[in-house]
Symmetry: C2
Subunit: 98 residues, 2 copies
DNA sequence: TTATCAGCTTTGCAAAACAAAGTGCTTTTA
DNA sequence: TAAAAGCACTTTGTTTTGCAAAGCTGATAA
């Protein structure tokens, strides 16, 4: 019965990134920077750095447009992101059930 | 629908500490340093520092005895540890289900 | 007596986390 | 029209965390 914590994905091994993924996957529509920021109660810089990490890993896609005259950045999970996250959750469950 | 990642317990917000708790809670008997080390595949120092953190938080109890003539350190989750861990898992589930 | 085991502690470095302030651009608002 | 405010960052600087590797202690086995 190997408790291999090493199959947990480091990209998701932090509450902020976990929260970001949970929010994105819980919504069928893209989620904006400000929605994320308020939902997760984070500072701008903190959120920006964590989503940047997820983007760099290829787990979220970023799209920038204008809503009316206001800039609006939204995030969606990529298909690799969805899969990697699911695998992470599976590994978590496995770990927690021995 | 508040995705409050802030209810996650920082003491368990790391794969090693998560693994330690999972192992300890999965076993009805105390678990030795070496069992933990092998099960989780960690170096001495790394394991030592993480269990020290859990001990400092009051989440695991440490007992030192001799088995035959060899020293043997074992770990058990405290009742606060069990409760806190359960709450952490509840918070996790809640987060993951919106 | 040299080596080995258990269980740490120390050292030293690198990466990560975070808050706070700054930035550039646009748009309200007074 | 000048000041304020919103969006989405980036930069700066500090603190915290993680980790491997080496060292250490006290005991035993070879």
């Amino acid at each position: 019965m190997k408790h291999t914590i090493h199959t947990l994905n480091k990209a998701f091994d932090h509450r902020v990134r976990l929260g970001v993924m949970a929010v994105l996957l819980g919504q069928s529509d893209p989620v904006s920077f400000n929605e994320l920021k308020e939902t997760l109660d984070l500072t701008d810089g903190n959120l920006a750095s964590h989503v940047a990490a997820l983007e760099k890993a290829g787990y979220v896609q970023v799209s920038k447009q204008f809503v009316g005259k206001k800039p609006n950045t939204t995030y969606t999970p990529s298909s690799e992101g969805k899969q990697a996250f699911q695998e992470h959750l599976n590994a978590l469950e496995k770990l927690l059930r021995g």
